[in-house]
């Protein structure tokens, strides 16, 4: 049976792992390659690396890090942050990334999703969507959730799926950093409407939150950062819990 995936997310700045609480306060949580290896040995199903300082001159550094990670670990990983062109994607995939994720670039130029999917295949194109609820309606936000757009989240998710995205990584900015649970309502709405997998992000605080996001939230995968980095929830324990709760999980 296909299992639900547990995905630690490593935020990278200057080659080190950091995690922003609500994306503002940064704390150092170690060496990304070492951390990646630990997570992979502990049973993480995939990893996501998000380069939060991705600027043109830093891209080479990121590609070097991607190669080091690809050599060290034996599970799939996605790289995101500042990716805007087909050439950016080529560099990272050639460096050893299995998938890349794009966010703001897709909002500014939706056709880039079609181009990337045509060039590299949908299976390696993840579209990350940051969403925030404004007066009862869900809107796509960019720039780490700071800038609102006029795009409705549900419609945008459908559009990028139609354009060839292979997966959607949906982060609720209202839930991110709160540890109060995932945004199950909008996740379920989007996951039910689309035929591609949805990765839930933002709000993980307890093991029960993961059970909820896989049941009520209908998510195919769940991503979290600080609760893993600071060992608040060890992955082996989380997986044992989810198996006991009858969620399909890889042992």
């Amino acid at each position: 049976m296909l299992t639900k995936r547990i995905i630690p997310c490593l935020d990278i700045k200057d080659g080190r792992t950091v995690k922003g609480v609500n994306f503002v306060q940064l704390r150092d949580a170690g060496d990304p390659v070492e951390l990646a290896k630990i997570y992979s040995d502990e049973g993480a199903d995939e990893l996501v690396f998000l380069d939060i300082t991705a600027t043109v001159d830093k891209r080479k550094t990121l590609a070097e890090l991607v190669t080091k990670v690809a050599k060290a670990i034996n599970i799939p990983f996605t790289v995101g942050g500042g990716i805007s062109t087909v050439e950016d994607v080529k560099v990272l995939l050639n460096a050893g990334a299995d998938k890349i994720s794009i966010n703001s670039a897709a909002v500014h130029n939706p056709k880039i999703v079609d181009e990337m999917a045509a060039e590299f295949g949908s299976q390696c194109i993840v579209v990350a969507i940051d969403t925030r609820n404004v007066d009862g309606l869900d809107f796509v936000h960019t720039h780490g959730g700071r800038k609102a757009t006029l795009l409705r989240t549900q419609a945008w998710a459908k559009e990028v799926a139609d354009r060839g995205a292979g997966e959607i990584l949906l982060t609720s900015m209202d839930h991110d950093g709160t540890k109060a649970g995932f945004a199950n309502e909008i996740l379920a709405e989007i996951s039910s409407a689309l035929s591609i997998p949805v990765i839930a992000s933002g709000g993980a605080g307890t093991m029960a939150h993961f059970k909820d996001v896989f049941t009520f939230g209908k998510a195919d995968a769940a991503l979290a950062a600080s609760i893993f980095h600071f060992k608040e929830i060890p992955i082996p324990e989380l997986k044992e819990y989810l198996i006991r709760e009858d969620i399909s999980i890889r042992k």
Binding site: T3, N74, L93, G96, Q123, C124, K218, D220
Partner: protein, 198 residues
């Protein structure tokens, strides 16, 4: 031992090389006919679209070469599909080493079954085969695919998604796996190790 990894217009070949490197095996990525012919083991990785890959292989006569090989040969993912007879992906005639058809997953219910089939799923109904030596029961492997090989008499393990499909094929010196052993943690390493010791 010389291990050749066939170089063609396929994505993510690097991951296979890194996986072999982790096992201490130095493999050569090559499209040189002689090097492939003289290798002790040949790995045919794959990611991408079937018709583009077949045209590329045909233009370089690599399809003919592959059919003539006698040493242990392992197709991975798209590599498995190209060894079959025909793929529904752009109606592509493939190499036909396995007289098996490759079909598109059609979800009965898009809420329950999404396409592509992405993530970790189990290898079931493992038969006695050198490739499957010392694997745990129903081990998990990592999949990313929208097309699958139908069940056949060459199927040595199946996986269930929507219905049963072929997870691993074996005929003579040819083995092929739909999942990505290079990304399938310790189970994937064991599969590669088993192949290298055939």
């Amino acid at each position: 031992m010389k291990t050749a990894v066939i170089k063609y217009n396929s994505g993510n070949v690097q991951s296979v090389l890194y996986a072999l490197e982790r096992l201490g095996v130095e493999a050569e990525l090559t499209d040189d006919t002689e090097k492939i012919r003289s290798a002790d083991k040949v790995i045919f990785p794959g990611q991408g679209e079937a018709s583009t890959a077949m045209s590329y292989l045909k233009a370089r006569k690599l399809d003919q070469l592959i059919k003539e090989l006698k040493q242990p040969f392992l197709g991975v993912c798209l590599g498995l599909q190209l060894l079959c007879e025909h793929s529904e992906e752009n109606d592509t005639e493939c190499m036909g080493i396995f007289p098996v058809k490759v079909k598109h997953f059609i979800p009965e219910n898009s809420q329950e079954f999404k396409v592509p089939h992405v993530g970790w799923n189990e290898l079931e109904n493992l038969t006695q085969n050198p490739l499957l030596t010392d694997l745990p029961a129903n081990p998990f492997v990592y999949y990313v695919h929208s097309f699958y090989a139908e069940m056949s008499k060459y199927t040595i393990s199946s996986t269930h998604y929507i219905h049963d499909f072929t997870a691993i094929l074996h005929r003579d010196n040819f083995w092929a796996i739909q999942a990505h052993p290079e990304k399938s943690s310790v189970v994937g390493e064991k599969l590669l190790e088993n192949f290298l010791s055939i």
